[in-house]
């Protein structure tokens, strides 16, 4: 449960970050001013596996690259909210937010009496509106589709859910075709134009002509249609360069650089093993720090120093020494706890919060977001791929 004042901090802080990420991406794929001005190291961008040279000079509507962003926020021991990471590729989990709320309303309606909880059920409408706003110029009634890898993807449930909530077709790559640099979907009535793709597949699968040749999930020629401005892809191609754990460390400085503001939501202080001092400090304090590989998602490869065995620490040391640029370290953040039902008893469990920011012409933040909970006693790993759960999250009026 979040008070209006706490929410105001998270909301405005998230909007500030999304603005910065969008400015950063427009800069990276445009004039590259932040790099020329020495704010952001060039190799962090150009050697990043998620940097897409295909995007250089390609204009996206509203200059919006990150239409849907999940900002992972935690509350430390001092009560302050800090950002753990940004998710600017295709953050998932919003279906749980809506389903958790509906479940709570059905099973415990009395809890809501007189509480003035801000609604989350209009997420689909808001997302659809934002995606329409991001349609190519001159399209008045855009056809939006959700591009999914298909029923065998672990998030397929969410894809079905979102397509239903937005009232749009749920498509796979094979349902679409590019002709004369325009995108169409195959319908019983023939080919119908498609203007906006809300995609839930990674960049490298989007177009076998440009990225992975063996991709069966994408549409050959999609990048040609994209480059011509005939279709909007949301999130844009190449956003992964901005939500990288290495670039993350520079976000507060980039907020200052682009917006001339201080970060409303600060970062967890981050040591970059790519830098000499950061590497030395990390190796000297492995048992006190949390170390993370830069290129991984879903909590994989995270080592929590104070809880790791000597053997694990030694393995981590070797891994870092082998490829220092791939690692960062952070002090251990004592995640706040939330009362959680464990086997019939209420016990404290660590949580984090992922608010969802939806951007078309402007940014809207879903009031609440996905609260993830580490169900194992004492665990700080909340990722659902690692056995985490989720909770309904209330923002009060």
């Amino acid at each position: 449960m979040l008070t209006p004042a706490d929410w105001e901090t998270i909301e405005s802080g998230s909007i500030q970050r999304v603005q910065t990420l969008n400015l950063l991406l427009a800069d990276i794929y445009g004039d590259q001013k932040a790099i020329k001005d020495g704010i952001l190291p060039a190799d962090l961008v150009f050697k990043n596996p998620n940097y897409r040279p295909e995007m250089v000079g390609l204009k996206v509507p509203e200059n919006c690259y990150v239409n849907v962003c999940g900002v992972d926020v935690v509350r430390g021991g001092d009560g302050q909210f800090v950002v753990l990471e940004d998710n600017a590729r295709s953050p998932s989990g919003v279906s749980y937010v809506v389903e958790n709320r509906q479940l709570m309303r059905r099973t415990m309606p009395h809890l809501f009496e007189g509480m003035n909880v801000r609604p989350v059920l209009d997420y689909g409408l808001r997302l659809h509106r934002a995606l329409c706003e991001a349609a190519p110029a001159g399209v008045s009634d855009p056809q939006v589709v959700l591009l999914s890898p298909g029923p065998f993807n672990s998030a397929y449930f969410e894809h079905v859910f979102l397509a239903r909530e937005m009232g749009i077709p749920l498509v796979t790559g094979q349902d679409m075709v590019v002709e004369n640099d325009k995108l169409y979907m195959r319908t019983t009535g023939g080919l119908m134009p498609v203007h906006v793709i809300y995609r839930r597949i990674n960049d490298e699968f989007l177009d076998p002509e440009v990225f992975r040749e063996d991709s069966m999930l994408g549409v050959p020629g999609l990048m040609r249609a994209y480059a011509k401005g005939n279709v909007t892809i949301a999130n844009a191609v190449g956003t992964g360069v901005a939500d990288d754990k290495g670039v993350y460390a520079y976000i507060p400085r980039l907020i200052k650089y682009y917006l001339d503001q201080d970060a409303i939501l600060p970062n967890v202080p981050t040591n970059l093993c790519r830098e000499k001092d950061g590497l030395q400090y990390t190796l000297d304090n492995l048992d006190k720090l949390v170390t993370k590989p830069v290129g991984e998602a879903g909590g994989y490869g995270v080592v929590i120093g104070p809880r790791a065995s000597l053997r694990e620490l030694e393995a981590t040391r070797k891994a870092i020494e082998k490829d220092p640029a791939n690692y960062i370290s952070q002090p251990m953040v004592e995640l706040s706890v939330s009362p959680t039902l464990i086997g019939g008893r209420v016990e404290p469990r660590h949580v984090d919060l992922r608010p969802f920011c939806v951007t078309g012409k402007s940014t809207w933040v879903l009031p609440g977001g996905l609260t993830r909970v580490a169900l194992k006693k004492g665990s700080l790993v909340v990722n659902s791929s690692q056995g985490g759960g989720s909770k309904d999250t209330w923002v009060l009026e």
């Binding site: 079905v160 002709e179 979907m185 019983t188 009535g189 080919l191």
Partner: protein, 317 residues
């Protein structure tokens, strides 16, 4: 509507219809086989489905137990009822947003129950029970579909699949059973003859209607004509073809889809074949050719539907 979805609902309709007809066929065959004067020709069931190669690659002999296992619960047999229901469920899963929750929930349960069946549940002694179980579930599915499906394009394609499959299955049933019936017609009115054409009509749920509309007639030719060309009987080939024509017309008039020449021509051809039923005695050889021609015609129609609605459509503009 997305082509892929149309194809999914089309196959949902086909697979459920296939499961129901297979249950009918096995049931009636089982009751034929139990008559000590008849031969328990289980190989006929394999022939009807053109499964000889697959079946005999795994079995030496077409015993009742082997055939029933193969057609009811064999997970490795693509034509088993278990797999038909499984494929229906997979197709339904992809179009869950187009069908009602009730339709999905029932199909899911049905598949679960099919999965529970073991060899001991499907022996000849329990065949009537298990066939009734399958038929009842297919009919429950049909009832839920009738009562809950939104009448959009998806519904029309679902009905198309259902009637294409039903026409095909009736032609197969007729072909194989008619040969068996004909072999004993030399002695018309013998107890075995009557019981067998009774069983054939019953397997198609047409016994009452046949007796009512053709009192006094007992000839196998009349039974065949009834299953081929009665315009009111919902499992006759003729009836199914008119339903297909109707659903295609709805897609054209209500949903603005153009049928195209290939669909029109293939439908026309199969309707023409179905209209050529002789008025006198029907020979088994003729009927076999007729059934083959109907099956070929339906294959052509199905192919035309694929290229017109489910496959690669031509460019817009």
């Amino acid at each position: 509507m997305l082509s892929r979805y149309a194809e999914n609902v089309y196959w949902l309709g086909r697979y459920i219809e296939r499961a129901e007809n297979l249950a009918r066929l096995l049931d009636t065959h089982g009751s034929f086989a139990r008559d000590p004067r008849a031969t328990g020709d289980w190989e006929a069931v394999i022939r009807i489905n053109a499964d000889e190669e697959l079946f005999f690659s795994r079995n030496k002999e077409a015993t009742a137990a082997a055939v029933l296992y193969f057609y009811l619960i064999d997970p490795k047999s693509p034509t088993s009822t278990l797999n038909s229901v499984g494929y229906a469920r997979e197709n339904a899963r992809t179009v869950r947003h187009l069908i009602s929750t009730e339709l999905w929930a029932h199909l899911n349960t049905f598949y679960g129950e099919m999965h529970e069946l073991r060899r001991r549940d499907i022996g000849l002694a329990r065949l009537a029970k298990v066939a009734a179980f399958i038929k009842t579930n297919c009919q429950t599915h049909t009832g839920i579909a009738e009562g809950t499906l939104y009448r959009d394009q998806a519904y029309r394609f679902y009905q198309l699949g259902r009637h294409v499959e039903r026409a095909d299955q009736t032609s197969r049933l007729l072909d194989v059973k008619y040969r068996q019936l004909q072999s004993v017609e030399e002695d018309p009115g013998s107890p075995i003859d009557i019981s067998q054409w009774n069983a054939l009509l019953r397997s198609a749920a047409g016994y009452q209607a046949y007796r009512r509309t053709r009192p006094g007639s007992m000839s196998t030719s009349d039974v065949a004509r009834f299953l081929m060309s009665d315009s009111e009987f919902p499992r006759s080939i003729c009836f199914c073809l008119y339903r297909i024509k109707y659903d295609l017309a709805c897609l054209e008039s209500e949903h603005g889809l153009e049928l195209g020449d290939e669909v029109r021509e293939t439908l026309g051809r199969v309707m023409e074949i179905s209209g050529q039923t002789p008025t006198d005695r029907i020979e088994p050889a003729w009927l076999h050719q007729f059934a083959d021609a109907i099956q070929d015609g339906l294959l052509g129609l199905s192919g035309a539907l694929v290229s017109r609605f489910f496959g690669v459509a031509e460019a817009a503009e």
